[in-house]
């Protein structure tokens, strides 16, 4: 084996790949070759580092120098300065703080973004080449599987998972050990292990990141689950929208088979286990466990009533153990480090860590893994670097279309299952979208409802019809035609849909509406009574006007207006004809004097 004196880790996650990280890696190889360093310095394409806002990300070891927003043109400078002369390129190092002009950190782990994190599920993301099983093995890979198969009884494995306190990371938070126990208790020759990688919550991408950055951790955990439950076949149901994840998962399964970690007689113990990958086809409801199984069976992905639960009668009618990607990604760590170490993190009833996908109006967009119970304030202000552009934090939406929002007054809420449920939201799959004063909460509720209406499978009436009626009421409100009775009716309808829908999609669809009603009722009332959208988002309620004091008569707005609604003489204040105005906002973006306002 060749030992390199330095490693250049180039992020190969979807975000950075979109901003040309493969080309950057290739350029590094080219420049290293040119500098005669090809044998000394190794370029590795890794999984996601988490700080997606600053991609493409490049980290140079042994120093751990953290370069952000690297372009192809920067590569030569990094090679010449850092790798030839040993001087990190200060200009490109990560700068902390709002708008990234603050302190420079030479090492990744010193930054606010990483310091408060505890990476368990994401432990190998950004650290290894996910397409090379040897690198996974070098970081204790497949050690847990060997230990389980050679030294533990299935029940002992289940007891370890139970003792860790791990709960399902896909959204519902059901105790994982119990789920394993139910599947193990069934007496049946054929059982299945199923991995839910149908990450449909818009704005959550931790499962993709695990599959892209550390696919073997999921494969290994599925084999362990198979041993514990008595199953010999596993299915991974993964979104087709994640081509890089699918590609790396397939490579990893192939390599695991070659190395004898999958297939017949694993580690010579007589235990057989193999994995089949099935692709989704863009249906959000398939993230629901029974719908997912129906889809794998080759049908329309409609959910089935429970009971019978999947542990009794699941995939192809056989007992099935189903967990989400992130849940599986914790398993080998728990086996290797002991359940006590895992249970030592988090709160009394929410153990371990959880990955959140930070998005929206936040400086450090990306993936963060934190001990359960970390407060929203720590995540937004410290790890996330706060709300950019000097705007105020208004709310955080968690759990996507099934979740709710936490307003600024609840920013000290600990992020764990119980605390979030108590304030009307959920941990969910871990999407965490930050909103500032420019976001309208009624519009956000409408956004999520449009999503659920579109994704409702149509099998049961409360969800199919109820969500559509709810959306109609919201449209009425945002167009300025709502009444106070509409708000009451909306609330009542929410309760019915919640209580009577067949599966989780419908049961949770009203949550974004209910929680915005709870925390931002005044905004709904403003739309209905004052016919105003306080955040200036809902177009039907907006009127654009030009402040004659500020307008210089430069004509920039009039020339840009697509419908000719702005008139005026040069060097005289202009006016907007509101009957012609289509409220596209072009004029505001063109005005250099801040003379145009909407409201």
């Amino acid at each position: 084996m060749n030992f390199a004196r330095a490693h250049i880790m180039v992020c190969g996650g979807t975000g950075c790949t979109s901003s040309k990280s493969p080309e950057i890696a290739a350029e590094f190889r080219k420049q290293l070759e040119a500098a005669g360093l090809a044998d000394e310095v190794k370029v590795v394409q890794t999984g996601c580092f988490g700080l997606c806002a600053l991609g493409p990300i490049v980290v140079v070891y042994p120093e751990g120098s953290f370069y952000s927003m690297v372009t192809i043109d920067d590569v030569k400078e990094i090679v010449d300065e850092h790798l030839v002369k040993g001087r990190p390129v200060e200009r490109l190092l990560y700068h902390e703080g709002a708008d990234h002009h603050g302190t420079v950190h030479s090492s990744l782990n010193d930054t606010d973004f990483y310091r408060k994190q505890k990476r368990i599920a994401l432990r190998n993301c950004g650290r290894i080449n996910p397409e090379n099983i040897d690198e996974y093995i070098a970081f204790d890979g497949y050690k847990a599987l060997e230990k389980v198969l050679k030294t533990m009884q299935p029940q002992e494995v289940i007891d370890v998972v139970k003792a860790s306190g791990l709960r399902g990371r896909g959204g519902a938070g059901f105790p994982t050990g119990n789920k394993w126990q139910f599947a193990a208790n069934e007496k049946n020759d054929v059982k299945y292990v199923c991995c839910n990688a149908d990450e449909g919550d818009p704005g959550a991408f931790m499962d993709r990141s695990v599959l892209e950055g550390d696919p073997h951790s999921v494969i290994e955990a599925m084999a362990i689950a198979g041993y514990a439950a008595g199953a010999h076949e596993g299915y991974v149901y993964v979104r087709a929208e994640y081509p890089i994840a699918v590609h790396r998962l397939n490579i990893a399964i192939e390599q695991a088979r070659e190395y004898g970690m999958l297939g017949k007689n694993i580690f010579g113990t007589g235990f057989d286990f193999d994995i089949i990958v099935r692709l989704g086809a863009g249906a959000f409801v398939c993230g629901e466990e029974t719908a997912l199984m129906t889809s794998i069976e080759g049908h329309r992905g409609e959910p089935r009533p429970r009971p019978p639960f999947p542990a009794v009668k699941g995939l192809f009618g056989q007992p099935t153990l189903e967990n989400n990607v992130e849940t599986f990604a914790n398993i080998t760590w728990i086996i290797n480090n002991g359940p006590e170490a895992f249970a030592a993190m988090g709160t009394e009833r929410s153990k371990g860590t959880k990955v959140f996908a930070l998005g929206g109006k936040i400086t450090n967009t990306g993936l963060v893994e934190i001990p359960m119970g970390t407060t929203l304030r720590e995540v937004v202000e410290e790890i996330g670097g706060g709300v950019p552009n000097g705007k105020k934090f208004k709310a955080a939406q968690t759990g996507g279309p099934s979740g709710g929002c936490l307003p600024a007054s609840l920013i000290d809420t600990p992020l764990d299952y119980e605390s979030m449920a108590a304030v009307g939201s959920i941990v969910g799959s871990g999407g965490l979208i930050v909103m500032d004063e420019d976001n309208c909460m009624v519009d956000i509720a409408k956004f999520f409802l449009e999503f659920t209406v579109d994704e409702s499978c149509g099998k049961c009436a409360p969800c199919r019809i109820g969500t559509r009626r709810m959306l109609e009421i919201l449209n009425k409100i945002t167009s300025g035609n709502g009444t106070l009775e509409d708000i009451d009716r909306l609330e009542e309808l929410c309760e019915h849909v919640k209580a009577n829908s067949l599966c989780g999609l419908g049961q949770t669809a009203p949550n974004p509406v209910l929680s915005t009603l709870k925390h931002f009722r005044d905004e709904y009332v403003a739309h209905v009574v004052d016919k105003k959208c306080p955040a200036g988002v809902c177009k039907d309620l907006l009127n654009y006007s030009i402040d004659p004091e500020k307008c210089k008569g430069c004509t920039a707005c009039a020339r840009a207006c697509p419908v000719g609604a702005i008139t005026g003489t040069v060097k005289e204040p202009h006016t907007i004809d509101t009957s012609k105005c289509i409220k596209c906002g072009t004029c505001i973006s063109k005005c250099r004097f801040g003379a145009i306002t909407k409201g």
Partner: protein, 165 residues
């Protein structure tokens, strides 16, 4: 999203049909093979017109109604062909709160057809997609797979111009 029967004439070749039939023969005895077959068919033809669904029904013995039911259930399966230039604007939450709705509207205004449809000359199609996972670059638009991040409506005409020649 409109996913009604297409008006565009079917232009499938015997080679495409042979490739599909070969794949079906290989996989049809596996459990739950229908989805992979439809995915393969879409990969071969680019979409799933009635003619292709008939081939699948005949080769697998699954009723055409069921094939049609599956093809219309999943957003990824298209009954209409895509344009030569495929434009997608992400409407995932992270992109939406950063204004991707306005970007989509600008694309629709610039190209002149609605989201989820294709221009009459078949040159452009526009889709509003779910999260493509480039949330760090929000709002995101893709044109023929090329990703454009941190979009504003003002950037749209400039980017699309290069595809219009």
């Amino acid at each position: 999203m409109p996913n009604t029967k297409t008006k565009v004439a079917f232009k499938g070749t015997p080679e495409q049909e042979a490739e599909l039939k070969k794949f079906i023969a290989e996989i049809k005895h596996e459990k739950g093979a229908t989805m992979p077959i439809l995915q393969k068919a879409q990969e071969i033809y680019g979409y799933l017109p009635e003619e292709v669904q008939v081939i699948i029904a005949e080769e697998t013995g699954i009723p055409l109604t069921e094939i049609y039911g599956i093809a219309t259930f999943y957003a990824q399966f298209a009954l209409n062909p895509k344009g030569e230039t495929q434009i997608s604007v992400c409407l995932g939450t992270a992109c939406y709160v950063k204004g991707s709705g306005d970007v989509l509207q600008k694309v629709v205004d610039t190209i002149g057809c609605e989201a989820g449809s294709i221009t009459s000359d078949g040159k452009f199609s526009i889709d509003a997609t779910r999260c493509i996972g480039a949330c760090g670059l929000a709002p995101v638009m893709t044109v023929n797979g090329e990703v454009y991040g941190r979009m504003t409506p003002a950037m749209v005409p400039e980017i699309l111009k290069q595809y219009m020649e």
